[in-house]
């Protein structure tokens, strides 16, 4: 019974990770699958977020709306992955927190588009404050992930995405290199989070 529950939850996580629309490997339930799945969704977060900000700054409304919808599906997939490990309440809280930071990114992008420095500064301040919230959330779910360390990693994510938006607003082709850097940075979040979850639930994520 217990093994069946573990297997169901593990498959649930794998299904949630697969919601990003990307294959994550054939073997299910391994720590490697978890790591690859989280990396895929978090990198996808960057590609979709930067697609949305690029379209918004370029005034391409239908494209922005499509990118924003896809970005939200990516957020939901991440929340389901969290929920499948830590329960529905945790998934719901994660989704609310995650969407909150996307809202702050939208605020920043709007500030850049309007050349409104105060709005940009407020959004950056909100995002930096959010990083601590996010660190505390993950620490609550997985105590081996220190709040401060996760917060610093999230601040790196915010800084790298801000560089993308600034380059897009300036019409600087370097935006594409910045997108790659921002996506690569997500590995610094995905890898330790996946490792910590696998260590927390060794019976679910046996190394095979």
């Amino acid at each position: 019974m217990i093994m069946q529950t573990i297997r169901t939850r593990t498959l649930g996580l794998m299904a949630a990770l697969a919601l990003g629309g990307t294959a994550i490997g054939t073997a299910q339930g391994t720590a490697a699958d978890l790591r690859v799945g989280l990396n895929t969704l978090l990198a996808e977060h960057i590609y979709l977020a930067s697609s949305a900000t690029g379209a918004a700054l370029g005034g391409r409304t239908p494209e922005f709306q499509a990118a924003a919808r896809a970005l939200d599906l990516n957020s939901v997939a991440l929340s389901r992955a969290i929920g499948s490990v830590y329960g529905d309440d945790a998934g719901t809280a994660f989704l609310a927190l995650w969407r909150k930071h996307i809202g702050f990114v939208v605020d920043y992008t709007t500030g850049v588009a309007m050349k409104n420095r105060a709005k940009q500064d407020k959004a950056v301040s909100d995002l930096l404050g959010y990083a601590t919230d996010f660190g505390a959330f993950l620490n609550s779910a997985c105590p081996s992930l220190p709040t401060g360390v996760v917060a610093d990693l999230v601040r790196g994510h915010i800084t790298s995405l801000k560089a993308v938006i600034d380059a897009q607003a300036a019409g600087n082709p370097a935006a594409y290199a910045d997108i790659r850097s921002a996506a690569a940075h997500m590995r610094m979040i995905a890898d330790p989070v996946a490792a910590a979850i696998a260590k927390q639930f060794p019976e679910r994520f046996a190394a095979r």
């Binding site: 830590y86 309440d89 945790a90 719901t92 809280a93 609310a96 927190l97 601590t132 919230d133 660190g135 505390a136 959330f137 620490n139 609550s140 779910a141 709040t147």
Partner: protein, 115 residues
């Protein structure tokens, strides 16, 4: 013992109004950016205590109508801090965290005879 004295004591004991012993605390944990349990039912007079287990500040702020001051509002700046409130009237009380509006909880306070 003098039967008159016994009767007097008995009369006094009946006459003295009973004071309800304070009800013991009921605890709600704040963990993982959520109130646990999310919904609670308690008898009138219960003191509810919220314990913050997250490494971040949270509040317990009763929602209020039309800008009125909330019935209770507690701020817990960090892990290990708590806030208590004694519910001395019946009803359903919804509260949130002012910093994280998606966190919502509900306490239903039941008066004697309403159960």
């Amino acid at each position: 013992m003098n039967p008159l004295l016994v009767a007097l004591w008995a009369a006094l004991l009946v006459a003295i109004p009973r004071v309800e012993a304070p009800r013991s605390d009921t605890t709600i944990l704040i963990q993982g950016f959520g109130f646990r349990p999310k919904r609670l039912e308690v008898p009138l007079g219960t003191r509810v205590r919220w314990d913050n287990r997250d490494e971040i500040g949270h509040t317990v702020t009763a929602t209020s109508d039309s800008g009125a001051a909330p019935l209770f509002a507690g701020v817990m700046e960090g892990k290990g801090q708590s806030f208590g409130f004694t519910f001395d009237r019946a009803g359903t009380f919804v509260y949130t965290c002012a910093r994280h509006s998606f966190m919502r909880g509900e306490t239903r306070v039941i008066a004697k005879g309403d159960q």
